[in-house]
């Protein structure tokens, strides 16, 4: 009897809840948050998981859920059926999705230049060997050493890091990750006599040299968080030079969590490219996410606290000043990546060498 009574009571309660909710939805107040699912480059994961970011979206009736994936994976192998927007880390990957799906819309709310995370002893060593000039890594000089297969222990006067390992920047897997393709954009430009690679002939000629930069590293990880985390946690022996987005390093500095130790340095590449984080909407809700990221001042400011450069460059400067982090130097040597087709062709050719 007792049991029956509790069932009846539970049923009554349930009815009451439904009634109240229905009434509530018809009345004033915020609509219940709609779930919008997106697939993003992993370096933006922390941003989307941040409570303040979640709250801003909630104010606009959205609950954004994201899965991380390599930007090339997003463009090629991820099943996009379950997502309402994609947010790869660069314009070439976004262009591919736009083209494949015949979408014209796209938002570039923020960007970040490519940089190298390293350590003070390495900076001193590479400065002495002419690879670092004016505090920036001279890609032409670096390519010379890499082309000759120079090992660390072959650098003259190297007592700081005499590893019997090639002097190579640690990248991610060029078959899967955006930062590796941004790196290819830089090194192909320099190897091509400081000209953006635009012909098949040029890329064919350069590819043997460029392929070595990836294959000689051996196994590479598929997301840029991987090498940066190794850099932070395991140190110089594992990752003396890690290719990163500037945002990754700034983010840690802004957080001030002690992860950036006193001997850690960020170097800019000369020349470098900007990775333009580009959102491509796959539905109306996805489009709303793109709009908000571009126009909402709170989201723009929050993006800057994660080290990204919003379209209005002053926002990052303000955040850095507030947090007592040194402002990045003025970058003048900036190049554009090759066209999507050229970049893809080169990446595919390199990918086929992984046997």
């Amino acid at each position: 009897m007792k049991r029956r009574l509790s069932i009846v009571l539970a049923a009554l309660l349930l009815v009451a809840v439904v009634v109240v909710i229905v009434i509530d939805q018809r009345g004033e107040g915020e609509p219940d948050a709609r779930v919008v699912r997106g697939v993003i480059g992993s370096e933006k994961l922390a941003f989307f998981h941040d409570k303040r970011v979640i709250d801003v979206f909630a104010k606009h009736g959205l609950r954004v859920e994201v899965d991380p994936a390599g930007s090339r994976q997003i463009a090629t192998s991820v099943d996009l059926g379950r997502y309402e927007f994609v947010f790869p880390s660069s314009s070439p990957a976004a262009q591919r999705i736009q083209r494949d799906r015949k979408i014209t819309a796209g938002y570039t709310p923020f960007s970040s230049p490519m940089a190298v995370a390293t350590f003070e002893p390495i900076v001193a060593l590479l400065t002495a060997n002419g690879v670092i000039r004016n505090g920036q890594l001279d890609v032409a000089k670096y390519l010379e050493l890499a082309k000759a297969g120079t090992r660390w222990d072959q650098l003259p006067g190297n007592t700081a890091f005499p590893a019997r390992k090639n002097l190579l920047i640690t990248t991610t897997d060029p078959r899967e990750s955006n930062s590796a393709s941004m790196y290819l954009a830089i090194v192909s430009f320099v190897a091509n006599g400081n000209t953006v690679v635009s012909t098949e002939e040029a890329s064919t000629k350069l590819l043997p040299q460029l392929t070595k930069l990836f294959l000689d590293q051996g196994y590479t990880q598929n997301s840029t968080e991987g090498p940066f985390e190794d850099y932070l946690a395991a140190g110089m022996g594992k990752t003396p030079l890690a290719l990163i987005y500037e945002s990754q390093f700034l983010d840690r500095q802004i957080r001030g969590d002690g992860a950036i130790r006193p001997d850690m340095r960020m170097l800019y590449l000369a020349p470098t490219v900007f990775s333009k984080h580009t959102l491509v909407p796959l539905s109306d809700n996805g489009d709303k996410v793109g709009q908000l990221l571009t126009t909402d001042p709170e989201l723009t400011r929050l993006a800057a606290t994660f080290g990204f450069r919003p379209t209005d460059s002053r926002v990052l400067g303000q955040v850095l000043t507030e947090k007592g982090v040194a402002a990045p130097p003025e970058l003048v040597d900036i190049i554009e990546p090759p066209s999507y087709e050229t970049l893809e062709r080169m990446l595919d050719t390199i990918g086929r060498q992984y046997r």
Binding site: A16, D24, R164, K212, M236, K238, R355
Partner: protein, 532 residues
């Protein structure tokens, strides 16, 4: 107000307390939510169970581990057999998996949990003898000392266990000395150096656990096998052995100055995992990577933290380790493994004592035939490729019933092994069952046939029987003859064989018992290959 009322009613109905609106500093990830993750994992992760139990309390996510070797795991993924059965994989590394394109494409979000390099642990005596105290040595120096028989060591089978595989790759990369990842074309050039290094490997095992136990037992004189000077294994395993305090003298860890290959334990969601597994994976890995849990992992399992900001304990004598480049493709890995088994490591001398008594008739004799035939290359799997009879192996098959039958010996050449493998196959296919069961007369005959074991070879016996001893001498006679001291016997429980006696034979000889009563005989025979 209506909203509040609704919330109140929902809470009354659910009968639970409200979710905290602000994150609780003691529980940064919020309240636990029920979830289960089915995980295909490397067996060495068994030591994470206490941490996972604590994690289940904190996050609500239960982890169900199913153990598998890395290569077998890659095969399970590549064949699509993990779909619907597992939500995630967790091996010591994804590097091998990613050389297999069909396995690679099933991997989703990878979250590294901890780190441990594969290094050489040597008894303090051996380190002193070698003059390596307080010195850094290179892999080439280690290989040279090994080639000069200055020390011996044990290592797991690289096709069975990641520690052996990492060591093989590490020493190959270091000996190639190019500073770049080793490729298939370089294997021939480094084979002499590798042969030197592996000539000192006197102990092989299919599992890291058995290897450590065998080392410990031999060091303590509790096992008839010859003492071994050291082990190639994860730093975490070597440190744990020292901490257990069961070794007569602790192991000194030798970190080769030219670098190591490390395990990084990526907890990897499968790309087709359902949504609730996705969020469970996120919650669990977030929890495992909090500084407190990372510290606990470091203290309890002696693996290094994966995140910055957790200070390394004093037990990690060498902090900054150079990581050797790892080959990128299946070709390089296959060339290395094939060379290791068929050309480089000590050759095997293997004797199978096989029960062909009347009780084996029917399915049982058929299982025995096909288990042997699988080892002649009939098993087309990734793992099977490295577990068959190897180049340079001397194999003797000794069937028995009421008495030992005539033994047949085969020698597999390191090039063009097919004709000899076909002869083994034909012999195995012709095995017939009838008569009684003379286990100990036959085992004794096996020992006579092998004679004094050649120290340059892995010599071992497999004893497979499906029943009790009915003919000839008894176990007691075998025991008192003291033959066991020289050659390990790997016993196989099958049918109605005596578990007690098979245990005794394995213990007496420093071997191991394998159970083919619930596992297919072919799989057991394949597993034993890791120890031969």
């Amino acid at each position: 107000m209506r909203k509040l009322l609704a919330i109140g009613l929902v809470l009354a109905l659910a009968g639970c307390d409200s979710a905290a609106p602000e994150p609780d500093p003691g529980r940064p990830l919020g309240p636990p939510q029920p979830g289960v993750l089915r995980v295909l994992a490397g067996s060495e992760l068994a030591d994470m169970q206490p941490i996972l139990d604590e994690a289940a309390k904190a996050t609500g996510v239960q982890v169900k581990l199913t153990f598998s070797g890395t290569i077998e795991g890659a095969e399970t993924l590549a064949r699509g057999e993990a779909t619907g059965k597992f939500d995630a994989v967790w091996f010591s590394s994804n590097r091998y998996l990613q050389t297999q394109p069909d396995a690679d494409r099933r991997l989703g979000n990878q979250v590294k949990i901890m780190n441990s390099p594969v290094v050489l642990g040597l008894s303090a005596d051996a380190v002193r003898r070698l003059g390596w105290e307080g010195k850094r040595v290179t892999w080439a120096q280690i290989a040279e000392a090994a080639g000069a028989k200055a020390f011996t060591y044990g290592m797991t089978d690289p096709s069975a266990s990641n520690s052996g595989f990492s060591a093989l790759v590490g020493v190959a990369s270091a000996l190639a000395g190019t500073g770049a990842a080793v490729n298939a074309d370089q294997i021939a050039a480094i084979t002499p150096g590798l042969t030197e290094f592996f000539s000192a490997q006197t102990l092989s095992a299919g599992s890291s656990g058995w290897l450590s136990d065998a080392y410990q037992r031999r060091a303590a004189g509790a096992d008839p096998g010859e003492k071994v000077d050291g082990l190639v294994n994860y730093e975490s395993v070597l440190l744990s052995m020292n901490a257990d305090g069961k070794l007569p003298q602790p192991l000194s860890l030798v970190y080769p100055s030219d670098g190591v290959v490390s395990a990084d334990y990526p907890f990897t969601l499968l790309s087709d995992a359902p949504d609730d597994a996705r969020s469970a994976h996120q919650r669990l890995t977030d929890h495992l990577r909090t500084p407190d849990v990372q510290r606990r992992i470091m203290d309890q399992t002696r693996r290094r933290p994966a995140i910055p900001g957790v200070e390394l304990g004093g037990q990690f004598a060498q902090r900054d380790l150079v990581e050797l480049p790892f080959p990128t493709g299946a070709d390089a890995v296959d060339a290395l493994l094939s060379a290791y088994f068929n050309k480089i490591r000590r050759p095997s001398r293997t004797l199978y004592v096989l029960d062909t008594s009347g009780s084996m008739q029917g399915e049982r004799i058929e299982a025995l035939r096909s288990a042997l035939i699988a080892l002649t290359g009939a098993d087309g799997s990734l793992v099977g490729k490295y577990r068959g009879f190897r180049g340079r192996e001397e194999l003797t098959l000794l069937p028995f019933s009421s008495a030992p039958a005539a033994p047949v010996t085969f020698v597999v050449p390191d090039t063009g092994p097919r004709p000899e493998l076909d002869r083994i196959k034909a012999f195995a296919g012709g095995l017939k069952a009838n008569g009684g069961t003379a286990i100990y007369d036959s085992l004794t005959r096996g020992y006579q046939l092998l004679g004094q074991p050649d120290p340059a070879k892995f010599t071992s016996i497999v004893l497979m029987t499906d029943g009790q001893n009915t003919n000839g001498s008894q176990y007691a006679t075998f025991e008192s003859a003291g033959r066991g001291a020289r050659i390990p016997v790997f016993t196989v429980l099958f049918g109605e064989s005596s578990q007690d006696e098979m245990n005794k034979v394995a213990t007496l000889t420093g071997g191991k018992v394998f159970d083919a009563r619930s596992t297919p005989l072919a799989k057991v025979f394949q597993e034993i290959r890791g120890y031969q």
